[in-house]
């Protein structure tokens, strides 16, 4: 029975049915405690893993990725306040932002949805983030990874500036750097000294999960 409800929760999310997903979450919250909040969160995480696989395999497209992320966010907004402190094992902290001069947030926000659902703590610095703010956040939060998003070719130089600043302050080896955005490539990532390039939000989350596991 408990498994049925969790399966229904996953199915409704994968059917991109916002109303039914929220109904399922509410029935778990208001139910007889046979299903824990953590189990519901795990079910959403598993569903998003399926979403990620479908996107990476080319079976799903950005609209489906975005909408499933929005459904998961709405579900997590109901579940998160009910989670007892310490019950969920965070995989680590990620500091994320769009580089200085660039105001695009779509890719960054999709990544944040997925990373949070994969149980990372995400510090979102927003858009048009100065190098000092990136480096300051790395100092303050000691994250596992620093993610920089960049859509515009004219702002790619900012990525190198942040990495140089990390080196200059002697903390480059304390954090993994991952970059993503329309104008970036694997080649650029190597050239600028990042640890990884993510062509999409799902791959980015997967790469950081591997870093967390190692």
């Amino acid at each position: 029975m408990a498994n049925d409800i969790l399966e229904q929760l996953k199915s409704s999310l994968l059917d991109l049915d916002m109303d039914t997903t929220i109904e399922n979450v509410n029935s778990i919250i208001n139910g007889d405690n046979t299903i824990t909040i953590q189990e519901a969160v795990d079910a959403i995480t598993e569903a998003l893993q399926v979403v990620g696989k479908r996107f990476q395999d080319g079976d799903w497209f950005l609209t489906e990725l975005v909408y499933s992320g929005e459904i998961a966010k709405a579900a997590m907004n109901l579940l998160s306040p009910l989670m007892a402190a310490g019950t969920s094992q965070q995989l680590g902290t990620i500091v994320v932002g769009t580089v200085a001069g660039d105001l695009h947030d779509l890719g960054k926000d999709i990544f944040i949805n997925f990373a949070r659902s994969a149980v990372f703590e995400v510090i979102d610095l927003g858009v048009d983030v100065a190098k000092e703010k990136f480096v300051g956040a790395v100092r303050e939060h000691s994250p596992l990874a620093l993610g920089m998003s960049c859509l515009l070719t004219v702002t790619t130089g900012e990525i190198g500036k942040v990495i140089e600043e990390l080196k200059g302050q002697g903390i480059r080896d304390k954090v993994k750097v991952i970059i993503g955005g329309a104008c970036l490539t694997e080649h650029f990532s190597k050239e600028v000294g990042a640890d990884a390039f993510a062509p999409d939000a799902v791959t980015g989350t997967d790469i950081i999960k591997k870093w967390a596991a190692s």
């Binding site: 080319g58 799903w60 950005l62 105001l103």
Partner: protein, 389 residues
């Protein structure tokens, strides 16, 4: 052959004397570099308390907007002629400068569709303008905007008609101006609303989405008509339908939401005996056959950083679609060596030019595209692009 015969022969999938070269010059930085002119520090002036409100008032008058906007594209065409291009695109937009507390400058452009465009300057002081967000996040806001801006839509069509006509009259004897009606129906439907909100509306408010698309289709056709009044044989339109790894939207959903609009657009162009070139950024392999089905005659961009391979595209649709573009602007046209550019030109010609149907160009433009490298590209096309290739 002259530039026009070269372009039109290529558009008919026949071999001209050599591969034509198209410029995508429009950024003030590139125009100034070609002219050897120092930029006007417009952004700097907007930071000056005494000047900023006067500049805003001036920019928002129609005559001044037309003067500076037309002037920039006139400069772009002159620059393209100087570098030896056979064609260059020209794109009309109407924007107003608004006080915008969220913006760094405290001001930003709002276009007539409800998009916010942020202003900034590059290291040399050249103005850069980039889309940042939509203003119309709710259905009510969208309806209010459309009602309130009805006079501006008319002004925009009127200005656009004059813009394309004047530029063609002034420069059309020396270069082919590809008059580009933009932004497209897809972009105009989601960007003012924001991608996340628009996606939610697709699933939650499909009737509203249909209303938006129908409205934008009608308005787009008016702008397309303005571009066609320049009376050239080829017209440009477009929509960025792709992202880095694939289409933004499932192709079946694009067909369901936009298929009739795109067929209508292509039909409108063909009824007037003209040809339609379609621009889309991103990875669009899965939409190429749709482009043929909708009636497009050619495509421009094929972004290499999104995995678009010119040879593969040629193999898939080159018999039906004229191909334009593919030279990289992330590295090659910014920092590439002359040898690298020559090699890229030779490779593009080898991949797509045999039998005609290919126009060499960069895949896009941005302020850091270097004019010297554009000239190298043109020189390489002249050197290696003579038919038979």
């Amino acid at each position: 052959m002259d530039f026009k015969e070269r372009i039109l022969t290529t558009m008919n999938h026949e071999e001209p004397d050599r591969v034509p070269v198209m410029g995508l010059i429009m950024d003030p930085a590139t125009v100034n570099q070609i002219k050897g002119k120092k930029p006007v520090d417009f952004v700097g002036m907007l930071k000056t308390p005494i000047l900023k409100n006067n500049i805003r008032r001036l920019m928002n008058t129609n005559w001044f907007w037309r003067k500076i906007y037309n002037g920039n594209f006139s400069g772009a065409l002159e620059g393209a002629i100087k570098l030896g291009f056979d064609a260059n695109w020209v794109i009309y937009q109407l924007m107003k400068l608004y006080k915008e507390p969220e913006s760094k400058l405290g001001m930003a452009f709002h276009d007539i569709y409800g998009r916010v465009w942020e202003l900034d300057a590059d290291d040399n002081g050249n103005m850069m303008v980039n889309y940042s967000r939509g203003l119309l996040t709710t259905e009510e806001q969208w309806h209010d905007w459309v009602e309130k801006n009805a006079p501006l839509f008319k002004t925009s069509v009127k200005n656009a008609t004059r813009f394309y006509r004047e530029l063609t009259d002034q420069h059309g004897d020396r270069i082919f101006p590809f008059c580009y009606a933009a932004p497209g129906i897809f972009e105009n439907s989601w960007q003012p609303i924001g991608f996340v909100n628009f996606t939610k509306f697709i699933y939650q408010k499909p009737e509203f989405v249909k209303k938006v698309i129908d409205f934008q289709t009608d308005l787009f056709i008016k702008h397309l008509d303005a571009a066609m009044k320049a009376d050239l044989e080829v017209v440009f339109a477009g929509d960025d339908l792709g992202q880095k790894t694939g289409p933004l939207m499932r192709p079946e959903l694009v067909e369901k939401l936009y298929g009739d609009s795109y067929r209508r657009v292509a039909g409108y162009v063909h009824e007037r005996n003209k040809k339609l070139i379609w621009h889309s950024c991103g990875n669009i392999y899965q939409l190429l056959d749709k482009f043929i089905e909708w009636g497009f005659d050619g495509i421009i961009t094929m972004e290499p950083t999104a995995g678009m391979d010119l040879g593969k595209v040629r193999e898939q649709v080159g018999h039906k679609l004229v191909l334009i573009g593919n030279l990289d602007v992330s590295y090659l046209m910014v920092r590439g060596t002359q040898q690298e550019i020559e090699d890229a030109v030779k490779m593009a010609i080898k991949a797509a030019a045999k039998g005609g149907g290919y126009i060499l160009s960069t895949c896009h433009s941005h302020p850091y595209v270097d004019a010297t490298r554009l000239k190298w590209m043109v020189d390489a096309a002249i050197k290696y692009g003579k038919y038979p290739v």
